[in-house]
């Protein structure tokens, strides 16, 4: 029963990883930018949530009303101010700029919030659970996270397939010069994509802060988990990212069931196994350029 429980908890954890990974996947899909600052931006959102709950006693979930738009704004500014110029420079510039941003933000957080670990208090909702059988309980909060993760992925899919901006993003992704010729302003469409991606990171960050203890350097692990979910699922597939998140979550909880210190290592090893034996990921897009 312990094992079944571990798998179930891992599955729910996968929802959080999918939520974290969705933005990374989106930015890579549209702009081929691997945002190395992705993890630390999630931690920024967690600190924002913590700050609001701690100082204004707002319900943890209501902080999203503030956090999402602020994070989206940060995404917009980063894209317009730094990523767009770096794309113009070409070569390794986008990766290096993203890395620089990650280091700067991590250390700014360290300077303002110290290295102490913190956690967002979500009240009763953070600790309540539903009893399924005698030995299996499902936490209400992990369940909410999972459902939100699935909804965000589905919503993003609809957005990319149905809306004008979504189609423009896909067009710019397929051929940025042709998209420009068709009247799409790539710089603005990129900024919208990044704002969307970092807005989603805002949700993921607050959920992360409720679920676990975090500190300024927690962004490193967060980036790695999000990246592993993307690669396990297969580049370019949002549903794949969800599957990847679930596989990673289950690998971690099952590993931790064997030995508490094996959790992260197990997740990494599953990732490396996928890389070795199925490098296109579990759900690679059927047609790949």
């Amino acid at each position: 029963m312990d094992w079944l429980n571990a798998v179930l908890q891992g599955l729910l954890l996968g929802g959080l990883y999918a939520l974290l990974a969705a933005g990374l996947s989106l930015m890579f899909g549209v702009m081929r930018i691997v945002n190395l600052a992705h993890g630390v931006l999630a931690v920024v959102a967690a600190y924002m949530g913590y700050f609001l709950v701690h100082n204004f006693h707002i319900n943890a979930f209501l902080t999203l009303i503030v956090v999402i738009p602020v994070m989206a704004g940060i995404g917009w500014v980063l894209q317009m101010g730094l990523f767009n110029p770096s794309l113009k420079s070409g070569g390794l510039a986008p990766i290096l700029v993203a890395f620089g941003i990650a280091v700067v933000i991590t250390n700014l957080l360290q300077a303002f919030f110290t290295a102490d670990t913190r956690s967002i208090d979500a009240g009763m909702l953070g600790v309540q659970s539903i009893q399924v059988t005698d030995t299996i309980y499902i936490g209400v909060f992990p369940l909410i996270t999972f459902v939100v993760g699935v909804l965000v992925i589905a919503g993003l899919q609809v957005y990319l397939n149905r809306t004008r901006d979504g189609l423009a993003m896909r067009a710019a992704s397929d051929d940025k010069d042709a998209a420009q010729l068709m009247g799409i302003d790539n710089r603005r469409i990129y900024a919208k994509a990044t704002a969307l991606a970092i807005g989603i990171v805002g949700i993921a960050g607050v959920f992360l802060g409720i679920r676990t203890q975090f500190s300024p350097t927690y962004g490193d692990a967060t980036l790695i988990f999000a990246f592993e979910a993307v690669i396990i699922g297969g580049l370019g597939s949002l549903w794949g990212t969800l599957i990847g998140g679930i596989v990673l979550g289950v690998a971690q909880t099952v590993g931790a069931q064997i030995n508490p210190s094996y959790g992260v290592l197990f997740g990494n090893l599953v990732f490396l196994a996928i890389l070795a034996f199925r490098p296109t990921g579990l759900l690679q897009k059927a047609v790949n350029s």
């Binding site: 890579f28 190395l36 390794l92 620089g100 300077a111 990246f227 990494n268």
Partner: protein, 349 residues
Amino acid sequence: MSAPATVGPVKVRRATKSSWIGLAVIVPILIVLALGPYIISRGLQQNLVILFSLIVLGTMWNLLAGYGGMVSIGQQAYIGIGAYGLVYIADSLGIDPFLAVPVAVIIAGLLSLPISFLAFRLSGGYFAIGTWVIAEVVRLITMQIDAVGGGAGLTLTALNVLSPGRRIAYVYWLSLAAVVIAVLVTYLIMRSRLGLGFTAIRDDATAAGSLGVRVTSSKRIVYLVSSMGCALAGSMIAANTLHITPESVYSVQYSAFMIFIVVIGGMGTIEGPIIGAIVFYALQQWLSDYGVWYLVILGVLAIVVVLLAPRGLWGLLSLNGRIKLFPVGYRLVNPLERFAVVKTKEPAA
């Protein structure tokens, strides 16, 4: 361009006037540095070992990214393997520490080959994070091995047979030798056919491949050399600090340092990482009272350099590459037209 009426026998030259001047400057500096243990204090020698290890790390990261086009944030895997290799081989196996260093470096090289097959499945930014995951796996596995002290780490005791003065001097010479080896190996690689191939890959990977440049195997060779160089730096760090833990030697901070050194100094040049390491070290000392702010400043500086001065400090100092201390390019010299110096491909970004 009008061809000259008479074309004399065309010569290919590699050395330039600046490279001869460079040699005339570098050799005396090296001689003075080699006399270091007779001139300077032990504390200064230990600080210089830190600087030397930064130069080696920067040079190796530049080989990987500046020439090979591979941004890695996982080279700390090899720093750790070099550090643990030295301590374990010297202390637990009882081999002479100065022999243990090359053995540890070779082990790191042997490990880097199978690892490269995994890492090379990814490219660009995903290669970067992938190498980081691999480094994390190596760290987590190291922590599980009781023979190397698990999470508590190891203390190097094999050097205790030497008096402190001698120990510090030997480590100093070892590190100076490591700098010379790292720079010389990079220089020889970039002067060779392999280096020419990298220039072609940088300009157009597909075209280079179609002309017979073996893109993947060239990258693998550079990955191997860079990993061995990082292991060498790792063993220097272990010999200098004498105590190592998984948290310290596998720290991703080393990758941040390497990136800052190379980006600020000038990517894709041999001189850049050396200048970058000196500037980085000076900033680190100067800003050490400001805690985490020095990394904020370095991060901002790196972003500014990438966007506004992509050739880095050396690019500014060398007047956009006109001055070269290490002649790795080719120049055609037509003896009849002394001023018609045709510049050809140069392995500089």
